[in-house]
């Protein structure tokens, strides 16, 4: 068997090739957990245009802050949304039509009732006019 000369380089079996780290990969996300957003200072926000994320420790709000082009820090606010589960609906919560809030449903129903009443009054007026014109024709067809 011919001897395969690998030169001076010797690599033990199973050795892992060193990986070249991507110098442009982000080491992590800037930001931290805070008790209140008033704790956040300008130095906490990186000046390279990337966002820093600040999470309130009670998870009630997350703010993403970055320096804007005009030198101000602009916060983007995220608040949690809890999708309603059937088991989580309390007895105090009343459901209106099509799952809408009951107050909203009541408002719409009142409007519909109002519109209906007006339509009925208009119908009455037209029907009275029609009755009067029929009587006139019966009395005096010509």
């Amino acid at each position: 068997m011919p001897y395969m000369n690998y030169g001076n380089y010797y690599q033990p079996y199973g050795a892992v090739q060193p990986q070249i780290q991507n110098q442009f990969s982000q080491p992590g996300i800037a930001g931290r957990v805070v008790n209140d957003f008033s704790e956040v200072v300008a130095n906490d926000v990186p000046m390279n245009g990337t966002y820093a994320f600040f999470v309130k420790n009670d998870m009630s709000e997350i703010q993403a802050r970055a320096w804007s082009a005009d030198g101000k820090i602009v916060p983007v606010v995220f608040k949690p949304y809890f999708a309603q589960q059937p088991n989580n609906v309390t007895t105090e919560q009343k459901q209106g039509l099509f799952g809408a809030d009951s107050d909203l449903t009541d408002t719409f129903m009142k409007r519909f009732d109002d519109i209906q009443a007006r339509l009925e009054s208009i119908e009455d007026i037209f029907s009275k006019q029609t009755t009067v014109s029929r009587r006139k024709k019966e009395v005096d067809p010509e």
Binding site: A42, N43, M47, N48, W67, S68, A69, D70, G71, K72
Partner: protein, 78 residues
Amino acid sequence: MNPLLSMYQALSKNPQQFMKNMANNNMITGNPMAMNTLKMMQNGDAKGLEQMARNLCKERGVDADQMLEQMKRQLGIN
């Protein structure tokens, strides 16, 4: 050497070359604030630059006028 001073010297020697170098710098082009600064410098928008500087000072809780005085002293401007 003070980076601010070296920047001022580069700017005063050859402003156009300085602008060109900045525009080709990846760190500048990826940064909205830096790009806006460069744009205002190229357009000669001194008021815009001043307002940006004041906004920066306000965000950091620094008095802009005091900062200006300090810079003037550092750069030897009266």
